[in-house]
Each structure stands twice: as structure tokens, then as C-alpha cells.
């Protein structure tokens, strides 16, 4: 079946206003500089192109000379014929198509839709909806069990979802986040926390040390000399001190942060609000052999609370609050515990409705040997949460290495935490 054609918008315009090349020739009574003509004739470049091609004009040194005037235009006639529904020659069809003055006639929406009337159809189309003809069709029932191609939405990593939740909880409880450093000096990681330089807990098997860069600088001299005096003889803290010669070079050595308590020490030294509540969630590094309970790296959540009124009772109260708010505990139990930098120290076990008992938090009151040299006179409660274990439970992960899983399949399957 031969195609029928209709005029394009441009075609209709030319039929109404004349072809641009004809208009150009009509305007060219005498030779005129091309620049003057440009503004007088619509679609000038098209006009010039076709007028030259037809041999109606001649261009010399920027001046356009009239050559001859056409009597009739075959193009215009063809446009008229198309417009009135007549056929034209193949040759002219291709000229008009090339000039984008005609296009194949499309079926009207109604006609298209009418064909479907009374039939059972699969696709509900815009035409059917607009014309209302859908009323005359029957929409086929689908297999509702059919599922299309699998979709993997973009998601946050389950572990970050969990850490964001913990962060939000702590902010709700009035804690401010502390900044931290992945690489610390031994001073902030140990000395400022009153861990003796020759103490077994500073053995190289317990923590990493750095080869590059090897050594950093120490903080303000006042703090350094107070820490030194406390280690050596107790300074003004009421302590006996460790009784050894403190070495500033050892303190300046750099190491990957081994615990978040380093952040707390820095925060205390740089000044705190009173009352004050601070927290940090940070990546820590220890030379553990990697297995189901020890990853290459781990996150710690720790913080401090400062106020002149704080006692051990408040420490228990704080731990209880964490157990309820963060772990969803239904029962709790306290155990005496040991941390090198707190005294008294306490561990909390929380009973989760599903998980049962788990060691969930540890806390203590910072030793005066820690707080006084950093310029803090008020009692400071220091606390830490075993969030990796809680994360494993919430995310239903058995092997700690899967917290940092490198399987996209596992991440795609993991459900959203909320």
C-alpha cells in the first residue's frame, strides 16, 4: 500500500508564505550586498542555497546578482497537491522528503484505538486511555505470579546502616561526637591514659607500630611534663606513680590507633564542656590473627561523661541506659572488671530477648592519674560498647569477617535495617 503524506509544519508555512528561495528572488530587484539581504529574508541560508542551485542568482564578492525569475515553482505546486490530498511524482516526493516539508501520514489516535475495540488486549496504551476507547476493550488478565527482571536497588552497607543507627541513638542521648586520628602517637594511645611505658599491655604483640612515619611530635609542653611527672612519681594526683624514667621519645612514636580511648584523651586535653557527654565511633587496629572473631580491623564505640556530681552509681545508670536503648536488653548484670585507665571499672552483660546474655559494655571512672595531668578536675566516666557483636547479631552474621564482606551477592541479599 502506497503511503499517504501530509505537510510538515515547515511545509505548511512555505505553502502559506511562499518558498524562501522565491521570496529571496522577489526581493532581489537589483544587486544587493549579501549582508543587507540577510535580515530581510526569512530562512535566508535555505533561500540562498536553493536560489543558487536553481540558477536564479549569482554571488560575486559578497554581492548577490539576480539572474532570472522563475515563473512557477514545482516545489510549491507539489506542496499544494499534497495539501489537497493528491498524488505527486516519486521524484518530487523525494525532493520534498529531503527538505523535510512532508511526512508520512500517521494513523490517528482514534483510528488506531478503534481497531482494538471489542478485542481482548494486553497493553493499555495512552491512546486507549485518552480516547476512552478502553471501555470497548477487554483487558487481559495477567499471571500475577510473574516477576520481571531482578532489581538490585542501591543500598547502604548493612554495617554502615547499623553504625548510623548507633550514632543517631547516642546523639539522641545527648552525646557529641569527637574527632579522631587513624594514626596516633603512643602519647595519646598510652601515656596520656596512664599506661606505663614498660607495662605488658604496651608490648609489640598487642599493638602495631609504624615504620613510616615512625615518630611524631608531642603536644603542649605543660601537658607532657604533667604526664611525665605522674608516670614517674604520681605528680599531684595522690598516686604513687609507676616509678620509672619516662621517655618522651617512646611517647612520640607513632602507631595505628589501638583503641578509641585515644580520642577521649585528646578531647579532655583540648577542653570539654561541663556537664559534657562525648562519643566516638572509630576504626581501630591490632595485630590479631584473623579468624571468625577477629577481623583485620574493628570498630569501637567509646565515650566520656564529665560532671562534678558523677559517681559509680551514675556509671551503672549510664550502662543500664545503653543496654536498654542500644541493645534492647530486658535484663542486665554488672561484673567487676579491669581497664588500665579506669578505677573502679565495671562490665555490663545484657540479656537480649533473642540473643540471651552478652557482654555488651564496659565502663569505669578515669583514674585521676589520667584526668588531672590533662587539666580535668571533675570525675570522668569512660564507657565503651561491644557494638561489633551487637552488629553481628542484628545483621545475623556469624563470622566477624563478614561485617566487611566483599561479596556483592551477600550485600544485595541483606535486608534493610531499621
Amino acid at each position: 500500500m502506497a503511503k499517504t503524506y501530509v505537510l510538515t509544519e515547515e511545509g505548511r508555512k512555505y505553502l502559506e508564505k511562499g518558498l524562501p528561495e522565491t521570496n529571496l528572488v522577489n526581493a532581489l530587484e537589483r544587486p544587493i550586498p549579501i549582508n543587507e539581504l540577510r535580515s530581510k529574508v526569512e530562512n535566508f541560508s535555505i533561500a540562498l542555497l536553493w536560489a543558487k542551485k536553481n540558477g536564479w542568482v549569482r554571488l560575486e564578492k559578497g554581492i548577490l546578482f539576480p539572474v532570472k525569475k522563475p515563473e512557477k515553482s514545482e516545489v510549491l505546486e507539489s506542496l499544494e497537491k499534497i495539501s489537497s490530498g493528491h498524488m505527486i511524482s516519486e521524484e518530487m516526493l523525494s525532493v520534498l522528503k529531503k527538505r523535510r516539508l512532508i511526512q508520512p501520514k500517521k494513523e490517528t489516535l482514534e483510528k488506531k484505538a478503534e481497531k482494538l475495540a471489542g478485542r481482548e488486549i494486553t497493553n493499555l496504551t495512552p491512546e486507549l486511555i485518552k480516547t476512552g476507547l478502553w471501555k470497548k476493550t477487554k483487558l487481559k488478565a495477567y499471571n500475577i505470579h510473574a516477576v520481571g527482571e531482578k532489581i538490585h536497588p542501591g543500598k547502604r552497607h548493612p554495617y554502615s546502616q547499623f553504625l548510623c543507627q548507633v550514632r543517631r541513638k547516642l546523639v539522641e542521648m545527648g552525646f557529641k561526637e569527637m574527632p579522631g586520628h587513624l594514626i596516633e602517637s603512643e602519647f595519646w594511645n598510652f601515656d596520656a591514659l596512664y599506661q606505663a611505658q614498660d607495662h605488658p599491655s604496651r608490648d609489640w604483640t598487642q599493638t602495631y607500630s609504624l615504620k613510616i612515619p615512625n615518630s611524631g611530635s608531642l603536644p603542649a609542653r605543660k601537658i607532657v611534663s604533667q604526664v611525665k611527672a605522674t608516670h614517674e612519681s604520681g605528680w599531684k594526683t595522690g598516686s604513687t606513680g609507676w616509678g620509672y624514667k619516662w621517655d618522651p621519645r617512646k611517647a612520640a612514636k607513632l602507631m595505628p590507633r589501638a583503641h578509641t580511648t585515644a580520642c577521649s584523651a585528646r578531647q579532655l586535653a583540648s577542653g570539654v564542656e561541663i556537664p559534657g557527654k562525648y562519643f566516638a565511633i572509630s576504626r581501630c587496629f591490632r595485630p590479631d590473627v584473623i579468624d571468625a572473631t577477629h577481623g583485620v580491623e574493628f570498630n569501637q564505640t567509646e565515650g566520656i561523661v564529665i560532671d562534678p556530681s558523677l559517681t559509680f552509681k551514675n556509671l551503672l545508670g549510664l550502662l543500664e541506659q545503653f543496654a536498654v536503648e542500644i541493645a534492647g536488653a530486658e535484663d542486665i548484670r554488672f561484673y567487676p572488671d579491669y581497664y588500665p585507665f579506669t578505677e573502679p571499672s565495671c562490665q555490663l552483660s545484657a540479656k537480649h530477648p533473642k540473643l540471651g546474655w552478652m557482654e555488651f559494655a564496659g565502663a569505669g571512672i578515669f583514674r585521676p592519674e589520667l584526668t588531672l595531668p590533662l587539666g580535668i578536675k571533675e570525675p570522668v566516666i569512660a564507657w565503651g560498647l561491644g557494638i561489633d557483636r551487637l552488629a553481628m547479631f542484628k545483621l545475623e552474621i556469624r563470622d566477624i569477617r563478614n561485617l566487611f564482606t566483599s561479596s556483592i551477592g551477600m550485600l544485595r541479599k541483606q535486608k534493610i535495617l531499621w
Binding site: V171, G174, F175, L182, L411
Partner: protein, 559 residues
Amino acid sequence: MPTIEVNQKDLCSLIGRTLSLSQLKEAVLFAKAEIESADGDILKLDSKDTNRPDLWSAEGIAREISGRMKRTGIPEYKTRKSDVKVIVDPKLRNIRPLTVCAVVKNLNITSQVLSQMIQLQEKVSLTFGRNRKEVAIGVYDLHKITPPIRFTTTTPDGIKFIPLEFTKEMTPRQILEQHPKGREFSHLLDGMHEYPIFIDNADEVLSMPPIINSDYTGKVTEDTTDLFIECSGFNPKFLIHALNVIVAALADRGGQLETVDIQLPGGRKLITPDLRPKKTKANLDFINRISGLSLTISQLKKLLEQARYSVVKTRGKEIELLYPAYRQDIMHMADVAEDVIISYGYNKIKPEQPKLATIGRQNEIETFSEVCAQLMIGLGCQEVISYILTSKNSLFGSMLLPESDVAEIENYVSKNWNVFRNWLIPGLLNFLSKNKNQEYPQKIFEIGDVVILDRKQETRTRDVRKLACALTHTQTGYEDISSMLDAFFSNLGISCMLARKNHPSFIPGRCAKILVKGTELGIIGEIHPQVLNNRNLERPVVCFELDLEKIFSYIHRNK
């Protein structure tokens, strides 16, 4: 945390009361321990205090429990003078210069006593003695020794003796090479031309510390009644403490303690063990303020005596105290306060939530990171988390980059994780290489910290928060990632510019630096096929990496 095994019956007999398992579960809290499991009579205990070796045996645990139950006050340890002398050779100065010793007589060594003694000796030298480096402990049958004992040196091929559990004589060198303990601990003698040795007046070898005892003198059985004990190492503080812990436990078993004269180089002399009590103080106001309890002075005294202190004198609110010599952990009144609270019972105190009005806030960079993560999710990407530690090959060689300095760990566990990453894209490529058989397309991003060397900083390094994104599919191209980047920046309301860049990890001509107002804050491009080959990746990968801190501070400045 040391894990120790005790026999329930033995423990109860040391306490002097028969306690059920559930009563014991409660009671061991006084000794900062927790019962992990019970298998018949065998209890596995977790000792929480890594600073109290005196609590790492049945004797030590029983001491704390019986004190609380009976208010017994300070345990007394009497010593007599023995006729044993130890002479320390000055040649040991740079090898293993010091020893402290004791004699214990009239012991009834049952299998329980023996197993507790061995366990305590092991735990103390492992945890407290840094696996024999700082403290090595030897226990010998006194009857087989002819004093005086010399602590001296031998050359690797010098004195021969039969090491424990062996039947033939060996030289020190042979022991280090062939005996299991020799192989395990030989690193402690690395680089030494002479080795430490204990030898008696009849030239009988006692031991070669910190490696192995001799099979003759150094073998203690249930028939042994009198012991010679030595701790060798470097720091008198650690050695004296370890010795006190061991002999106190044996005294609790009915052993009679005797002192040993140690003649040190330069005419100095040491008499050990010294179990005279040490002095400290408690102040009622201080204890009440720290604990939150409202104790009276007599209540406080009772709690102290239960914790095995003894009260010397009370003056108003100030109490002068004595505490046993097996403890070295008391430095401040806060330590005494904890003992008081443990006596009182942690679970008898009613918790009080601190009522403090504070305003919570998270770090701004965290908030910004969350916003950026939201955008990346919206763009259809899955977040991944990699380790911050990685290998040099992952950062440089496999990325076709020349090696340069990055933060590097000295005592690494594995070369796969011995440097800190300084950019994120290598980690994303590693991730993709582990997921080649998973469905494509794979669109991933990571937000995380990298470590940059910076001499101006106190730690000579700076952490930088970064965002990286990688896409891979059979037909992924540069425009897939540039449209992503465009969407990212336009949704942050920032206009960024791209300028051609040459980077060895990317295909030449398909890489650009990302600029905002002239500041370079990232890189975008298509990964070089050689980099893909290096990781066995089989599909094209396009990616970008951005410095979120620079973007954040730009937004902040233009607010």
C-alpha cells in the same frame, strides 16, 4: 584475659565452705572472675584483671572469696631464713641480669596443688611476663640441689644437660634446635653468644632460662615436698611481683616459706621473698564520693577487711591500712575504692542515671557523608566497606603507579595488610574482582578515610574522607560515569569542570581531573585494561574518586 581452670571441690576446700555452682558464680565476682563453663568438677574461669596475677589460681580466687565471707583481713605470710644462696654472675649483664628466688618447704603436693602451681606459673610468665621475655619462672626439687647456686652463662656448645622430658644430654645449641621448648623460645636468646644457666655447687644444671629446666632437678612431682623457685629477667619490679604471687599461693597450701640470699654483682645483696605487708590509706569522704554510697566509717572498715586489707589506725575519716605483698596494683585511693565497692557488691547498688542536660551532635563530616551516601544510593549504587589497611601492590604496582611512601606498619601480621590506603579506587577494584561471577551491572561506592603523609601534622599524617564510585558491565563507558558525576554535583548545587589528565591507572585520553572553582578535588575515568588484567577483571570499569572534605569546605564557604 587469662582463662584458668580450677576444681570446684578444691576451690571450696580452699575457701573453707561448700558452695553450689550458682553460689560460686556469685562468689567469683569478688575475685574479678566469671565462670565461663562447668564440666563436672572442672570450672573454666575468665579472670578479668590482667593486672592482678594473684587472682589467676584457685588459691588467689579462694583468698578473695573467703575474705568477703569471713572478714578475715590481711593474710599473713611468715618467712624463715634458708641456707640457700644464689650468686649472680656479672657476665649476665646484657643477657638476663637478674633473678629473685624463694624456698618453700613441707608442701603436700597433691595433683590439685601441682596442676594449680603449673597453671599459675604458665599464666604469669605468659601474660604478665610477656611470654617469658620479662619473667621466666623455674620450680625445682630442693633435695636434688646442692647450694650455693650460681646464676651464670654458658657458651652454646658448653655445658651439657638432660632437658625436661628428654633422656639424653644435649648442649644448649642442640636444645634450641631440637627440643620443642627450645624451638618455641629460642628467639628470646637471638643474637647472644652466651646463654644464661642456673647451676649448683655439684655442677648439676638446674635450668637454662628462659627456655627449659633440667630433667633431674627441674622435675616436680607429687612426691616432692621442698621447692626452690626462681624468677629471672630484667626488671626487679616484675620479678619480685611474680615471685610473691607464686609463693603466696604455695603458702596458702600449707608450705613453709624461706628466704634466699642473692648476691648480685658489685657486692649488692637481695633477700627474697619479701612478703611484709604494704601501707596505704582510705578516706571515707573520698570513697563515698567516688562510689555514690553513704557508708559509715565502721561499714567502710568492714568492707576493707573483707577485701583483705587490715586497719592499722583510724583518725576521723582517715584510715591507715595494710595490704598484702602479692598485690602491686594499688597506686591510688581509687584502687582501694574499687575493692570496697566489690566487697559491697556491684549488683547490690541501685543504678542512677546521670541527669545532665547536654546537646548531642554528630561530626559535620559524618552528616555530609550521609548526604553523599543518599545521593549515591539514589544513583543506584551499592555501598561497600573495605579495610583501611591494604598492600603496596594493591595501591601502586597493580595500578601501574610508581611506588611512593605511604603510612606503613612495622610489625605487620600479613603483607596483605601492612600499609594504610591513600586512595579508595584500588579497594573498589579488589571488591569487583571478587564478584566476577555475580550479576551485572555492578555499581558500587565507598565512603571512607584514607591516610595522607603530612609532615606539618602532630602525627605526620592526615585522615581524608573520600568517596569513590565504580561501575562495571559488558558495555560500560566513560559517559556512564560522567553522567553519574554530573548528577552528583548538580544535586549538591555545585558546578564542576573536567580537565584532561594523564594517570597511569586510566586509559590515556579517557581520564580527567575534577575541578571546582580551580581546586582539584577528584579524578574520573576509565580504568586501564592492564590494571583490569592485573586483577583478572574481564569487563570495562569506569570510576571516580572525590575528596569529600574539600567539597564540604567549599559548600561551607559558599553558604
